[in-house]
């Protein structure tokens, strides 16, 4: 891979890392999913910047796929697509979670009419 290719690959990796961290902070991506992307991206960046690892990865990918560079583009696009899918799942999961919590609290409060169980002791 050329130096420019390594630089572009690293830049894409860093952009993905920052995006994932911001998404977790904003509660739009579940941290458990985020960890998978972060570890994967750090590993990919490490492969790109360590020459011996890059040589080994290139040899392995050439052995597996006839057009490794095109496959790389597809993998990057697929990664961003998967992050997007996980965002949607996380957003939906958060809504379900808030609904579940709210429903649980309101039901419990309804069963305790005052909502303050210790009031009767006052």
């Amino acid at each position: 891979m050329t130096t420019l290719g390594i630089a572009v690959g690293t830049a894409i990796g860093i952009a993905l890392l920052l995006w994932v961290v911001v998404l977790i902070r904003q509660d739009r991506l579940y941290a458990g999913y985020g960890v998978i992307f972060i570890v994967g991206t750090i590993a990919a960046i490490a492969v790109l910047i360590v020459p011996s690892w890059l040589r080994a990865a290139t040899a392995a990918s050439v052995a597996l796929m006839p057009e490794p560079s095109l496959s790389l583009v597809a993998i990057v696009l697929l990664t961003f697509l998967v992050v997007y899918v996980f965002i949607q799942i996380s957003v939906l999961a958060n809504r379900v979670m808030r609904l579940t919590q709210e429903l649980a609290i309101r039901t419990a409060q309804r069963e305790q009419p005052s909502g303050r169980p210790s009031e009767e002791r006052r």
Partner: protein
């Protein structure tokens, strides 16, 4: 110190429970016996066993999640409940009977001293070692204890203890922080916000029923996730402080 005197503060004891039918009734009865002046709520976190049936008629208020949300969210539900019902402090206990409710009273007395915003019932604060703990867990505990020390300048020896006394002053922070799991990351977040977190010694019994909430995969995923959340907690606390100043 006389620890039997009832406190003027309103206290809610919250027990998050997931498939704890074998132990929950006994835990509820022991809480009722040892802490009669405290209100009791059980957060049934979508149990699929007979937990719900066992709790019926136990005298505890049951806040029932329709599906399993996990430990951190069950605690967050308890925090929301305590905040809305205007409690001064929230005591969390494990549902598996590991914690003796009789040990809560001295902890409450210590908490009433006003030195802490959150007090952890700690298994390791006296010995400061993790002897007897399986190797994997010991490694995790050391890692997170050191990480909390590194991030806050103050070590917490038992970051995963389920026995905590949480003051109402921390409720808003715990409610607003969306990615709570209530272990090391929550402690770092609160400490970096300026809340005072202390540890008081307790002893725990071995779990006799049920299984731990940690699966084989979670032994790899949990440390990674928690480390990430600790770092994010640090960032979030710094941003919150900046916004407030």
């Amino acid at each position: 110190m006389d620890t039997s005197t009832a406190s003027p503060h309103r206290t809610l004891v919250a027990i998050p429970a997931y498939n704890e039918a074998a132990t929950i009734r006994n835990v509820v009865e022991r809480v009722r016996l040892n802490l009669p002046d405290c209100d009791l709520v059980v957060v049934n976190d979508g149990s699929t066993d007979a937990t719900d049936a066992v709790l019926a008629g136990s005298g505890a208020t049951v806040v029932a999640h329709l599906c399993n949300l996990g430990y951190g969210r069950a605690i967050q539900t308890a925090v929301l409940y305590a905040e809305r019902a205007d409690y001064d402090r929230l005591v969390t206990l494990d549902a598996d009977g590991q914690h003796d409710p009789a040990q809560v009273r001295p902890l409450l007395a210590e908490f009433d001293g006003g030195q802490w915003d959150l007090l952890i019932g700690s298994r390791y604060v006296v010995s400061r070692s993790y002897g007897g703990v399986p190797f994997g867990r010991r490694l995790g505990m050391q890692l997170f204890s050191s990480l909390v020390g590194l991030m806050t300048g103050r070590r917490v020896y038992d970051t995963t203890s389920g026995l905590k006394i949480i003051g109402r002053q921390t409720f808003k922070a715990l409610r607003n922080w969306q990615f709570i799991d209530f272990h090391a990351e929550a402690l770092v977040y609160l400490m970096r916000l300026g809340f005072r977190i202390g540890e008081a010694p307790i002893t725990v019994e071995e779990r006799h029923h049920g299984t731990t909430m940690y699966s084989a995969l979670s032994h790899i995923k949990y440390p990674l996730k928690t480390t990430l959340m600790v770092v994010l907690g640090l960032i979030e606390a710094s941003l919150t402080r900046r916004r407030m100043s």
